[in-house]
């Protein structure tokens, strides 16, 4: 065993045993981030904070929530919303954060795509990030079920039904997921387990992995410059802070994050207090009723684009059923982003504005996702159905064409 001397302070005592000084350097004061960044680089800290808000508000909600079809609705809308001191505040914070977290995830994700931060060494950052997107989606869906309102029930019905389209095992899978032939008490209780235990703990693990994936390839920068982090760090430590291309995570990088966080929290709490309906659909304040189908069933806004890819294929093509084509397209839409690092055939890392063809591709993708999102909520009748169809086809084509488009850019530069 190592020899321990008498410590003169709590810090020293901990340092002897846990090597906190070295840990602090590695994690904080000598964890190097490029200096050439803009506010989009603060989205990670915004997401970590929002996740923290979700966990804490969720813990308080769990103290009164009852995962039982006969009690769930009133435990949320009466006990928590009207009886428990500030229960409404925790519920609004939780509901609005669950929606806003996806806005930030999308900004974070498209920042990565725009600046090419997913390839040539950064693949694991991208993959772990997409895994977080998937687990957050599952958490969002399972959480939406818990108040047991009309939209909770019917969204659960529609989404669990989708698994029925999987060849061979589909119908059995649906029953296995629901724990019943119908969406019922067993379904609610198991989604409660997923929402409050399995998914959060998985998310926490993947967040750890996501942070770790940044260590070796390092964070990208605004011009996608290649930086010699060791040399730049040396400059910084020698006192040439102005010339060095890097900054330490603590306190320089985090100070900018907190400044952006301040603005974000203003926006977030404004929504919590004064503008929450977008995140807490009024339809869900009607108790679940399996005898009454709501006139319009739609998912939360962050699932609309993939939902529209699913229902965009509304007619049979060449003998294949519309439902099956839609389901295949839906599977494609949800998996294709994972493959992005390999679909991009450009040999260099550059921001989109330095890749002419990719730049056009990026903004078409943005507009297409916007169209899919808006039409994902509109009733799929008449012209709406056709807009949805063409937008869904465009989405698939964009990814099919991506390897060619990225090759064109490389060729133009003479590579």
């Amino acid at each position: 065993m190592a020899k321990f001397e008498k410590a003169n302070s709590v810090g020293e005592w901990l340092d002897q045993r846990l090597n906190t000084t070295a840990l602090n350097k590695v994690m904080m004061t000598e964890y190097w981030i490029p200096k050439n960044i803009n506010f989009l680089w603060a989205m990670g800290v915004l997401l970590a904070t929002t996740f923290g808000i979700l966990v804490i508000s969720g813990l308080f909600l769990m103290m009164y929530y009852k995962p039982d079809v006969n009690l769930a609705f009133d435990s949320v809308n009466y006990t928590i919303m009207q009886e428990v001191a500030y229960g409404w505040l925790f519920r609004h914070m939780h509901g609005v954060a669950a929606s806003v977290v996806f806005l930030i995830i999308y900004i974070h994700m498209f920042t990565g795509i725009y600046y090419g931060s997913y390839k040539q060494g950064r693949e694991m950052i991208w993959i772990s990030g997409m895994l977080l997107f998937m687990t957050f989606s599952a958490a969002g869906f399972s959480g939406y079920m818990l108040p047991w309102g009309q939209m909770s029930y019917w969204a659960a019905m529609v989404i669990t039904n989708l698994f029925g389209g999987i060849p061979f095992i589909g119908p059995d899978l649906v029953v296995w997921i629901r724990g019943d032939f119908n969406v019922a008490d067993a379904t609610l209780t198991r989604f409660f387990m997923l929402h409050v235990f399995l998914l959060p703990i998985t998310i926490m693990g993947i967040i750890g992995l996501h942070f770790y994936t940044l260590r070796i390839p390092h964070v990208n920068n605004q011009d996608s410059d290649e930086i010699d982090f060791d040399a730049e760090a040396e400059k910084y430590l020698a006192g040439n802070k102005k010339e060095s291309k890097v900054i330490p995570f603590w306190p320089i990088f985090i100070s900018k994050d907190l400044a952006v966080l301040g603005i974000f929290l203003l926006f977030y709490f404004y929504l919590v207090f004064f503008h929450y309906n977008f995140a807490m659909d009024p339809v869900n304040f009607d108790p679940a009723d399996n005898m009454v189908t709501p006139p319009h069933i739609y998912p939360e806004w962050y699932f609309l684009w993939s939902y529209e890819v699913l229902r965009g294929f509304f007619f049979d093509i060449a003998g294949v059923k519309a439902f099956d084509i839609g389901l295949a397209a839906f599977g494609f839409a949800n998996a294709i982003f994972l493959l992005l690092p390999w679909l991009d055939r450009d040999t260099r890392i550059l921001p989109a504005h330095k890749r002419p063809a990719f730049f056009v591709w990026f903004w078409i993708l943005m507009v297409d996702l916007l169209v899919l999102t808006v039409y994902g909520k509109l009733p799929p009748t008449g012209a709406n159905a056709w807009v949805g169809f063409f937008a869904a086809v465009a989405f698939i084509l964009l990814f099919v064409l991506l390897p060619i488009i990225t090759k064109i850019d490389a060729k133009k530069r003479g590579e």
């Binding site: 200096k35 803009n38 506010f39 989009l40 009133d74 809308n77 009466y78 919303m81 009207q82 409404w88 505040l89 609004h92 806005l103 900004i107 802070k241 102005k242 060095s244 900054i247 306190p251 320089i252 100070s255 900018k256 907190l258 400044a259 966080l261 301040g262 603005i263 929290l265 203003l266 709490f269 404004y270 919590v272 207090f273 004064f274 309906n277 977008f278 009024p282 339809v283 869900n284 304040f285 009607d286 108790p287 006139p295 319009h296 739609y298 806004w301 609309l304 943005m366 916007l370 999102t373 808006v374 994902g376 909520k377 509109l378 009733p379």
Partner: protein, 290 residues
Amino acid sequence: MKELKILAVVVLFTIATYIGVEPYAHSQMHPHVEEPDYTFKDVDGLNGLQGNAENGAILVQSNCTACHSIDKAGFPPVMDDASAAAAYGVVPPDLSTSGKLYNADYLAAFIKDPAAASKVGHKFVDGRVHPMPQYNWMQPQEIADMVAYLQSIAPDEMTNKEVFVDACQRCHAIKYGDMQGGSMAAKTPVENIKAYMGKIPPDLSQYIRSRGKNYLHEFINDPQKHLEGTAMPRVGLTEEAETQVIAYMEEVGDSKKAEREALGPKFLIYLVIFAIFAWLWKASKWRDVH
């Protein structure tokens, strides 16, 4: 400045998405209907006749009290709610407050032809008749006298809850109004009201959140506008009574509204201060590296 340009793009896409999925999508899903009409100008009402309350008293007491109680005038209910519901299909209203709750023209039209005035004629076909008979055999002046009488005995002021109880609770429960005591259940027993309306009228506890004020005003004023063919009658509430009904639904369904609206600005002020200090700290830290 580059960062502001990036911010503008992010904000623009966020706003476009928001407008698309919220105001625009909802305008497509819920077509606009006409503003509520609190004068009920479509009904065959008083047509300008002035009533005589004294004469009306005799008419009401001889024509109405066989079924209706008028507690205020010394006519208590002759049977309990369950028996009344079994006899008539639905508990008949006490008339003590009718003169205040309902528009006078509507009330006159309702006495003449209940199903037509309440726009539920579609329910009473194939031999089914409205539990209240038509009084259109009476002289228009007699009807006006009865309305004048009902107005003369009605109270000047009623609480929001009293309005709700008299106007809605015969059919609708609002259980969050008294979760422990259960006193806000519908007065007509479930099996009777289900037979009478075709389905159990919804509990209104969360309708202020699920429907919102505007919809409730439009719907209560004329249910057929939003829900053609619904069994819910147009009840003819005055604008004041309807506002009180919705105020009660808000007191029950969104009981923390005042607390929320008071706390919000405090949170935001605190966050403005936090944001200012965060920017100052950021500026001081980045001065060294730029």
